[in-house]
Symmetry: C2
Subunit: 424 residues, 2 copies
C-alpha cells in the first residue's frame, strides 16, 4: 500500500512505502538525507549510509515515519529498504532541483521533457488544470453545452492569411484560427449556449513573449443576447470561478510560484471603458497621446484599474470597425459591439456580439473586401434563422501566464510552438 509524501504527517511510528523521484541527495558521513518527490510534494528520507542512487532516479522506499521538526512537514522516514525502480543517467540536461530562474527560457524549453520535473515549473500546469476545470464547470452551471469541432477547414473565416496549410490526401486544408464558424452554427442549431476547449493556430511571424503559433482557446458563444455587456457579465462569472478555484485548489502552487490570485469578488468591479475612453486614460496615465491601445497602453490601463477599482483588469469595449473581424456587429459612429479583457497588462480575451442578419453580413463581407463564395456553409447559418448572439475566447496560456505572473506565455505552454520551435 503506497503512502504519498503529503500523507506522512501524523503517521509517526508507522511503517510506510513511498514511491517517487530522488530530488536531492545529501551525504553527511554517518547519515544521508534524500529528498523524495512524488505527485503530492517533497519528503525527507534518512539513510544510515549513502544510498547508491542518482538524482532523478525513481525509487521505492520502505521505512518508519519519525517526527523531526526540521524536516518538511515535520516528519521524515528512516529507510529500512530501498529499491531503484528506474536509474537516472548522470548527465541530466537540466538541473531539476535548482531555481529555474537560473536557467534561460530557451534551455528550459529545449529540455522540456526534463525541465517539467522542476516543482516550480510543474506548478504552472497544475494551476492550468484548475483553470480548465473551473471554466467548464462554471459554464455547465449556466446551461452551456461542451462541443468539439474540427480543426481542419477548407478556408478561413477571417480570410486566408495567417493560416497553416495541411496536406490532406490529394487536397489542401487549413488549421483553424478559431472555432468561430462552428460555435455560431451550434448556438444557431438550438444549443443556444456552447463552449469549446481546443487548439487554435495562427501562422503569424511574431516572436514576442505574448505570442505562440498554437494555443488553447477557451471559447464561448451565447444566443439571445444583444449587448456585449452580457458577455462581460458572463466573463466576470468565469473569472471569479477560476480565481476561486485556484485559491481553493492550488495554494501550494501559488506559494511555489510566489504568485497571488485576484480576489474572486473583485472581478465584479473590473472597470468597463469604451475604446475612446481607454485611449484618454492611457494618454493621461502615460503622458503620451495614443491612437491605438498598444502593449504599453494595456499595461497603463490595468495599472489605472488597480488604482481606481482595486483590480488589475479592465474591459475595453466599442472598438472601431476596421480593427475587428467582419462578423462583428456594428454600432454607432463606426464602432462595434465588441470588447477585450486586459488582465495584468495583457489582452487575454477578445469577444463581440456577432452579426446574425443575413443581409447585413453580405454587406459587411463587401466592405471587408471578402467574397461570399467559399463561405456558403457559414452564410447558411444566417439565411435560415439565427438568433442574436455573441461570444468570446480566452487564451488559456495567456490567462495562466498572468495568473502566475510569468514573463512569457511560453512558460505557460507545455510544449510551445513558435516560428523556430517545433520540438519536443
Amino acid at each position: 500500500m503506497r503512502t504519498l509524501v503529503s500523507e506522512l504527517t501524523g503517521l509517526a511510528g508507522s511503517t510506510v512505502t513511498l514511491f517517487g523521484w530522488v530530488h536531492r541527495v545529501r551525504d553527511l558521513g554517518g547519515v544521508s538525507f534524500v529528498l523524495l518527490r512524488d505527485r503530492s510534494g517533497i519528503g525527507q528520507l534518512v539513510f544510515d549510509a549513502k544510498p547508491d542512487v542518482t538524482p532523478e532516479s525513481v525509487i521505492r522506499a520502505v521505512g518508519v515515519v519519525s517526527a523531526n521538526e526540521k524536516a518538511p512537514g515535520g516528519v521524515e522516514v528512516l529507510v529500512k529498504n530501498m529499491e531503484v525502480m528506474s536509474a537516472a543517467a548522470l548527465d541530466l540536461p537540466f538541473p531539476v532541483n535548482q531555481d529555474p530562474a537560473k536557467t534561460s527560457l530557451e534551455s528550459i524549453l529545449d529540455n522540456r521533457m526534463i525541465s517539467l520535473r522542476n516543482p516550480t515549473i510543474l506548478s504552472i500546469f497544475r494551476v492550468q488544470s484548475t483553470i480548465l476545470r473551473c471554466f467548464a464547470e462554471h459554464l455547465r452551471g449556466e446551461g452551456f453545452t461542451e462541443i468539439k469541432t474540427s480543426k481542419l477547414i477548407g478556408t478561413g473565416t477571417e480570410g486566408g492569411t495567417g493560416l497553416f496549410a495541411v496536406e490532406y490526401f490529394d487536397s489542401k486544408v487549413y488549421l483553424t484560427q478559431s472555432p468561430q464558424i462552428y460555435k455560431q452554427a451550434l448556438i444557431s442549431s438550438g444549443l443556444e449556449r456552447v463552449f469549446e476547449i481546443g487548439p487554435a493556430y495562427r501562422a503569424e511571424k511574431h516572436d514576442t513573449p505574448r505570442h505562440i503559433n498554437e494555443f488553447v482557446s477557451l471559447d464561448v458563444e451565447m444566443a439571445f443576447i444583444e449587448s456585449e455587456q452580457d458577455l462581460m457579465d458572463l466573463e466576470v462569472g468565469i473569472l471569479s470561478a477560476i480565481f476561486r478555484g485556484i485559491r481553493e485548489t492550488n495554494q501550494r502552487e501559488l506559494d511555489t510560484c510566489k504568485a497571488t490570485v485576484p480576489d474572486p469578488d473583485a472581478c465584479a468591479r473590473i472597470p468597463r471603458v469604451s475604446h475612446d475612453e481607454a485611449k484618454e486614460i492611457v494618454t493621461k496615465e502615460t503622458g503620451k497621446k495614443v491612437y491605438e491601445i498598444n502593449p504599453e497602453g494595456e499595461r497603463a490601463l490595468c495599472d489605472w484599474a488597480m488604482k481606481t477599482a482595486g483590480v488589475e483588469a479592465a474591459f475595453v469595449y466599442a472598438y472601431p470597425r476596421k480593427s475587428r473581424p467582419f462578423y462583428t456587429f456594428p454600432a454607432e459612429n463606426n464602432r462595434t459591439k465588441s470588447f477585450d479583457l486586459l488582465f495584468r497588462g495583457l489582452e487575454v480575451t477578445s469577444g463581440s456580439i456577432r452579426i446574425n442578419r443575413y443581409d447585413m453580413l453580405l454587406e459587411n463581407l463587401q466592405s471587408f473586401d471578402l467574397k461570399p463564395e467559399g463561405l456558403s456553409d457559414y452564410l447558411s447559418i444566417f439565411k435560415y434563422g439565427c438568433p442574436p448572439h455573441g461570444g468570446f475566447a480566452i487564451g488559456m496560456e495567456r490567462l495562466t501566464q498572468k495568473v502566475l505572473g510569468l514573463a512569457s506565455v511560453k512558460e505557460a505552454t507545455l510544449f510551445p510552438r513558435d516560428r523556430k520551435r517545433t520540438r519536443p
Copy 2:
C-alpha cells in the same frame, strides 16, 4: 424575462415571453398552431390567425399559458404578440422537423449547419457533452491532472506513416496521431496521473462507418502501476461514471434517440479475456476459425459477453507483440501487457503498460526497425528515471456512437473529416 419551453408546465394563467425557432406551422383555418423549439424542448403556441412566419425563423412570442392536455407538457401558449427576430428563407436545404432516418447520411453531413437543428441529431451532441464532463470529473476525482499538449510534432512516435504534413513556415511538421509521447513525459515529470482531451489525426485511407481521419481522443496515463488489469479497473470506473451521468442528465435525449445506456454497475462485470481466449470464443460463437479479432469477431465477443455476463462489452488483453506499438511492455510468449475494450461490437479503447526501461526501449526500437535518431526527446524521458506506467485512449466519437446505437461514427462527429469530406 425569458421563459424556457420546459418551464411552462405549472405556469397556467401567467404571461410569458418565449424565444426560439419555428419548428412547425399548422394552420387549421380559424386557429394556427406553431411548435416552438428552444434549447429546453418543444412547446405549442396558439395563434388566432395564421402567423406570417416561415419554418426555422427565430421568433419572440408573448402570450398567456393555458392548460391543454393534448399539447406537449400539458400546456400551450395563447400568443398575444409575436416578433420575427430572424426570418428563415423558404428553400431549407434539410427538412429539420422530419425523422432524419428519411435522409441519407451524406445529405445530413453535406447540410450539417442546418441538419444539426434536428432534435434527434442534436441530442447526440448533448450526450457527447455529458461524456466529456464525466470522463474529466471521474479522473479528477482519482487525482489526475488535465494537460493540453501540442498537436504539431516534428516526427511521429509510431513511425512516419499515417501522418498529415503541415507547412510550418519554412519547414514541415505533422499532426499528432496521439499525445503518447507527451502523456509519458508528464507522468514522468511528477504529475503521475494525467489525462488529455484533444484532437488526433490518422492519415489513413479507410472509408468505413468506424473510421474518421480526425477524432477526439480521451487519453489517460498513470504511473506506478505494472499490470494492465489496473488500467482496466480504471476504465471500468470511467465507463460507470459516464453511463451514470448520461442516465441522470440525458433521459430526454436517450428517449429521442431510442437508445438505452448499460447499467453503470454492470461495468464491473465486463469479462476480461486474453487474446488467445478471445479467438477461441469467436471461433466457437461464429463457427469460423479466426487468427485475428476482426470486426465480425468484435461483434461476436460482445454478444458472448452479453450472454454470459449481461453486459455488451469485453476487455481483450495480452495481444501479440507484432500487433502493438513499439512502446508496449512485452509479456511472456511474445505477448504484451496490452488491452482493448470492445463495446457493442466495436473497439472503443486501446491501452497498455508502456516500456519504462531505457535499455529495453532501445532494444525494442531495433526489433521494430525504428531508429533512435529523431526520438531523442522521447528517449530522454526514460534515460533519466521513469516510473512503471501505462495508459489508454478512448475514441470519443466511437463511444458516443455505441452509447446511442448509431450506424456510423460520422453521425457522432459534429463536423467529420474523411478522405473526401473537408467541409463544412
